[in-house]
Amino acid sequence: MVCRVARAARSVTLVSLFVVLAPGLALAHQQTGVSGGLISGFLHPVLGPDHVIAMVAVGLWGAQLGRPAIWILPITFPFIMASGGMMGVAGIPLPSIEVGIALSAVVLGIMVAGSVRPPLWVAMAIVGAFAIFHGHAHGTELPNAADPLAYGIGFVIATGLLHMSGIVVGLAIARPLGIRAVQACGVLIVVLGGHFLVDAVGTAA
């Protein structure tokens, strides 16, 4: 009983300490657009279903390929994507961006569905080429954001978390049923990507 009371007292003290240290919205002069920039950057990839399925596919494929791809892909992808983002920020045009993004979902979905295991450099080249399209789409919006730095941080974090989601789901391949389930996810991504591709080609035409 005494032990419980002491534990409860410690918990209350701990919570009180947290409350005292509670942070708030920072309003330093140049930082007024941080929350807006961060949220809009975070939501840009998350609210685009074509981005979502392609990023999750990267994670799924990484998990299927195993080491070292499982850690090389999430480390290198953001940097290559940022190169595309830089082109978008600089206003360098990239043809058929929406087609490229939809195509990335189809191709990556095929890789996942078929458990394709190319050499690492080929996998890197495929993922890297499509990363430029995704980065360009996000980067184009960056200069107009309330806070470009916060926007960039938001969309990079969102992209990384989508990869992680794919990797976590992809780790199901440790079980026999999981292998089929991950491949089924690949098929679903191909179907959805195909839909977006037809849509994007129709719009481009």
Binding site: S11, L25, A28, H29, W71, P74, G139, P143, I153, I157
Partner: protein, 197 residues
Amino acid sequence: MIHERRVAVVAGGLIALVPGIAHAHAVTTRYGDVVSGMLHPLTALEHAVPLLALGLLAGLQPPAGARLVITLVPLGLLSGMVLALLFPAIDVMVAVNRWSFIALGLLVALGRCLPDELLAAFGIVFSLSHGYENGLAMTPDMSGLRFGLGVALAGSAGVVLVAAATLPVVRRAGGLRIAVRASGSWIAAVGLMIIVV
């Protein structure tokens, strides 16, 4: 102990969701120039993120390397503040700060142990450049000594805490080490884009 940790995590999560207002300037905080100085590097993403990267880089090094970085950061921040007071128009410092995202992020992503000379150079250059830009934020009514002390205290504490949290994580092979390196890649990616803006 486990119960307390759960309480701490839940309380931390709930409190992080509480909106509020924190004013980073002496005029509005009334807590003095030291607190204003402490808040400045921590509430500005352009300083907080590279300092985070510096902490991660220190944490990826052997303990001697980590200690070297931790020692140089307050010196660099204070020197930068003094430099800002003496020569307030060194434009290249802003560019150095932007490049610090890329350089420090890439070094973290690579996850390699660096020679002490190189570590010392990165530690002193980037803490000096960030100290300089923090120094420029001072208004004439502020005490330079107190504001500088606040910046150096908060910046150094941030680097020390991140390095201390990273050190045990990277000793274990596996997911957490990869997560640290991936965060470096994210920081470099952000830097690559803001360099063009």
